[in-house]
């Protein structure tokens, strides 16, 4: 295949990897921050307070119905002006992914909490455990177990969605790829094919193990 040599050019692969690192960094930070946000929203969603319920509903539905790209635009262009926030593109990405990841994770947390059978609370009560002991020793460990596979899947989705960062001008793996394509246009006219091909597989190599882990966890804990 002609043109593949572009990949062997000095600096090409290291730069792509550097771009990939930006992608992974954004995804990693977003996932990390989504966890506390998700736990909090999940807990809020189980509360029986009407106001909280409505607020959480609107938050969840809005985040879910808007395309992530639209949310990114809202955060990048809108927030900076409305709230006088100075978010750079990377910051906007992290903010959106945390709000989005937090909402999705929150719904998972809520689902996991309500799916714990009532008899688990009742056995704990009869055995004399207090509310905190019941939550920390019985309910939470079970909820986390139910939560983990779906959360790993969510992480995969966040990694994939970081690709949109390029459309805000973040210099991540796709943008680096475009720069390389541009800089090598004359020597390697078909570089586009190879660079985008490599980026395609880079995403695959980051996401695939996560998918496998999620599936394993799901299978392993299916019958518990």
């Amino acid at each position: 295949m002609q043109g593949a040599e572009i990949l062997l050019q000095p600096g090409v692969f290291p730069r792509l990897l550097q771009g990939l690192w930006v992608t992974v960094w954004i995804a990693g930070v977003s996932v990390g921050l989504s966890i506390p946000v998700g736990l909090l929203t999940g807990w809020l969603m189980t509360l029986n307070n009407r106001v909280v319920k409505v607020i959480m509903r609107v938050y969840l539905d809005f985040i879910r119905i808007m395309p992530q790209l639209a949310l990114l635009f809202l955060a990048y262009y809108g927030f900076a002006r409305w709230f006088d926030w100075n978010l750079d593109a990377t910051g906007a990405c992290v903010l959106v992914f945390v709000l989005w990841g937090g909402a999705e994770l929150g719904d998972l947390v809520r689902g996991a909490l309500v799916s714990i059978p009532e008899v688990q609370f009742e056995s704990s009560y009869v055995l004399g455990l207090n509310a905190w002991q019941t939550f920390s020793r019985v309910i939470l460990p079970q909820a986390l177990r139910r939560l983990l596979p779906a959360s790993v899947n969510l992480a995969t989705r966040i990694v994939k969605t970081t690709s949109l960062a390029v459309l805000l001008g973040v210099v991540e793996v796709i943008k680096v790829g475009q720069q390389i394509i541009d800089a090598n246009r004359f020597q390697y006219p078909s570089g586009t094919l190879w660079i985008y091909g490599v980026i395609f597989f880079m995403y695959f190599i980051v996401c695939w193990p996560l998918s496998i882990v999620a599936r394993r966890l799901e299978k392993r804990w299916a019958n518990d």
Binding site: A70, F73, L74, R81, S163, G191, T192, L193, W208
Partner: protein, 218 residues
């Protein structure tokens, strides 16, 4: 600050953008459903080699972003002499991405039909075709519908990235107006409204559809 006359003037742009978004989404979703059916069929029938290919396809499709898939199709493939129009790339991209999600929803539906249902159909004398059309499929659909509806919404949302390959969808309009007239507020407002107009009814219809097919509650 907020310029209503701008909103008024450029709303028609967003109507066109909405139509483009719908056009791409509808064909992309139809393709995804077709791909999903074929894949689910192959997996359930356990056709040897095809099954492995389906596996590889599903992993590739699920673990890569649509944007990169589109760049590859739109800018990459021409270097091999394959030039597809932006519309074709977008529809194929959505179909490629959505196919694996649809396949999973459909397979889940088929697998959720308990074996005893097929056995009962057998004992009652139903032919394999009758068993599939009268017993298995209707039940499979009822379990698959929520997943399929979720995928439809997911794919419409994903279609927002087709603006990157110069398709004039809703997202494209917003970026274009921001770039030309620096009317950020108004454009973002129209953007949000357009997506609400597209997705809210579908979301509500989806809920209705799920209820409609929920006769399988046991």
């Amino acid at each position: 600050m907020f310029d209503w006359s701008f909103v008024h003037r450029y709303a028609p742009f967003f109507v066109n953008g909405t139509l483009m978004t719908l056009f791409i989404s509808i064909f992309g979703i139809l393709l995804a459903i077709a791909v999903g059916l074929v894949c689910a069929g192959i997996e359930l029938a356990r056709i040897p080699v095809a099954r492995q290919i389906v596996r590889v396809y599903i992993e590739l499709s699920r673990n890569t972003p649509l944007l990169v898939q589109l760049y590859f199709l739109y800018f990459g493939l021409p270097k091999l002499g394959i030039v597809w129009s932006a519309e074709a790339c977008a529809i194929i991209g959505l179909g490629f991405l959505g196919g694996s999600y649809m396949a999973e929803a459909m397979r889940g539906g088929l697998e959720a039909v308990p074996e005893v249902q097929r056995e009962t159909a057998y004992v009652l004398g139903l032919s394999p075709m009758q068993s599939i059309s009268r017993v298995v499929l209707p039940q499979a659909i009822s379990t698959a519908v929520p997943g399929i509806v979720a995928n439809v919404i997911f794919l419409i949302k994903e279609s927002s990235v087709v603006s990157a390959i110069a398709l004039a969808d809703v997202m494209y309009m917003a970026k274009d107006l921001i770039g030309m007239y620096y009317s950020t507020y108004e454009s973002l407002f129209l953007l949000v409204v357009s997506y609400l107009v597209i997705l809210l009814p579908i979301s509500i219809a989806g809920t209705w559809l799920e209820r409609r097919f929920d006769y399988a509650r046991r």
